[in-house]
């Protein structure tokens, strides 16, 4: 068994940013394990622009964003193995991976887990009907189109207004397919507003809100679908059914962290995100194992993945180099009803006051809200934010948060009139 200081599982945007940051913070013995034949992860198939506005202050396509990071990685001579699949991680930080050299194990001082996310599938949303060929997740159709150069069909309907679906509506239209429409079960869109504008409106593709696919037809090949309006409980309304003839149904119905390896290692799971439960340093319940990027919680922008992962890399470096002081207080972070989730779930305070970054999502559209952090005795922080929507993650950087003499922290989002 080989010993390494830091092993990073995943060479996508999260893994790359963690590696560079850990290196810049003093750790040189780093190994990235990547399952694909190239670095960059999902960015390689996201050939559209829209990346890097926050991080590089210019608009880049996915491959360009990856390129910039890979160049930085190469400058630092950070080692990586491609075509390498991690098959287990133990609570002792022993990693077993498999590649064309064999089944190997490494003992790491620290691990940054950056394995990304999966798309939700038809089975998970229980769409009834037949099971023909022609129903694809949007990301798989994107892979076929942008990596293999092939369309999966010519007459397309899209279920779910997630960004991948919207981006694919434009891509397939430009490549000659006819996109007939998009149904979104919620009364609001789940994608970025600009993607509604430039991917649907530009091509006159209708978006149907409070509407979903209620039946799939075709024994072997998709022949058509039935869509229906839904009521406020998201149940289909009888009598609103409409048949649409199509050869392709794309599902853009959400993503979830591909967190099974850490779950099997024994890291506690955040029930709301399905990722690991982490503290303010993105450290899981097993000391020295950090989690970041879409395997921790699904982000809307790669820029935020990079930012979070730089923190994970630095924190892993501090841990390896023994730069951390002892934990002096342990707090849980709870949230009010209209918050979907908040990260971190716990705070392991190592000093009396710390700058803490909170990432959270609201559960419904809120025009104007007071955001409050409090303990049972007093309000620790508050601010006002406008236009909160579930599809956009909110990041709150709180300076000098008081962490001593306080019990649990509660995050509240209060709707203002």
């Amino acid at each position: 068994m080989i010993n390494r200081d830091l092993v990073i599982v995943g060479g996508g945007s999260a893994g790359l940013a963690s590696a560079i940051s850990a290196y810049d913070n003093g750790v040189n013995d780093i190994l990235i394990l990547e399952r694909n034949g190239e670095l960059g992860g999902i960015l390689n198939q996201c050939i559209h622009p829209g990346f890097g506005l926050h991080h590089f202050n210019e608009e880049l396509t996915g491959p360009e964003y990856a390129h910039k990071y890979i160049e930085e990685l190469k400058k630092r001579n950070i080692q990586y193995f491609l075509n390498t699949q991690v098959i287990s991680i133990s609570n002792e930080k022993i990693i077993t991976y498999i590649n064309q050299t064999g089944v190997n194990t490494i003992k790491a001082k620290a691990i940054v887990f950056a394995a990304g996310c999966n798309e939700r599938t038809r089975g998970q949303i229980s769409t009834p009907g037949c099971r023909p060929k022609g129903v694809y997740t949007a990301g798989l159709a994107q892979r076929y189109l942008n990596i293999e150069g092939r369309l999966v069909g010519k007459k397309v309907y899209i279920l779910g207004s997630g960004d991948i679906g919207l981006i694919m509506a434009r891509r397939m239209t430009l490549e000659g397919a006819k996109v007939l429409g998009v149904s979104e079960i919620m009364p609001y869109s789940n994608g970025l507003k600009r993607n509604i504008a430039q991917c649907l409106n530009d091509f006159n593709i209708p978006l149907r809100l409070s509407n979903t696919v209620t039946k799939i037809f075709g024994r072997d090949k998709l022949e058509g679908i039935e869509i229906s309006d839904v009521d406020s409980n998201l149940r289909p309304i009888k009598g609103t059914e409409k048949y649409i003839e199509c050869d392709t149904l794309l599902l853009s119905v959400g993503l979830y962290p591909f967190n099974s390896l850490l779950k099997e290692a024994g890291c506690l799971v955040n029930k709301e995100t399905k990722g690991s439960l982490v503290d303010q340093n993105l450290e899981t319940s097993i000391e020295g194992i950090f989690s970041t990027g879409n395997v921790l919680h699904v982000h809307d922008l790669v820029d935020f993945v990079s930012e979070e992962s730089e923190r994970a890399g630095k924190n892993a470096a501090d841990y390896i180099l023994g730069k951390r002081s002892n934990v002096i207080n342990k707090l849980e972070v709870k949230h009010s009803l209209n918050v979907g989730y908040v990260i971190p779930s716990i705070i392991n305070a190592r000093s009396e006051n710390e700058d803490i970054i909170f990432s959270f999502r609201v559960k419904k559209n809120i025009k104007k809200a007071s955001i409050i952090l409090k303990n049972s005795a007093k309000i620790l922080y508050s601010c006002i934010k406008k236009n909160l929507v579930p599809s956009e993650m909110i990041k709150l950087k709180v300076k000098n948060l008081e962490l001593i003499g306080t019990d649990n922290i509660q995050l509240e989002v209060i709707e203002n009139e």
């Binding site: 622009p49 360009e64 490549e175 970025l192 600009r194 530009d202």
Partner: protein, 112 residues
Amino acid sequence: MSEKITCIVCPNGCEIEIDGENISGYSCKRGFKYAKEELFHPKRMVTSTIKISGTNEVCPVKTSLSIPKEKMFEVMKEINKVTVKKPIEYHQIISKNVLNLGADIIATKEFK
């Protein structure tokens, strides 16, 4: 007569209102510029792929500048005619001045 548009410059997606010469609702200079352009000469960047000859692979490309929105499908036709050979450099120009629109088709990824 006023018109509302969604700004596509960045993920914020501001709602910009255009009433004749009067533009409001933007939150940065780029948004202001976009709104003005969108009213008179809407432009879009086109991204697609180009076949790498002799392989089953494709190379992702983009237009080096935004091109007039109504020319998107014509530009796509040009993109789908061309092939490119390996090695391909990052930001290598594949087609110069496509359809005389002033923009080049450039590779967004390297292939060795």
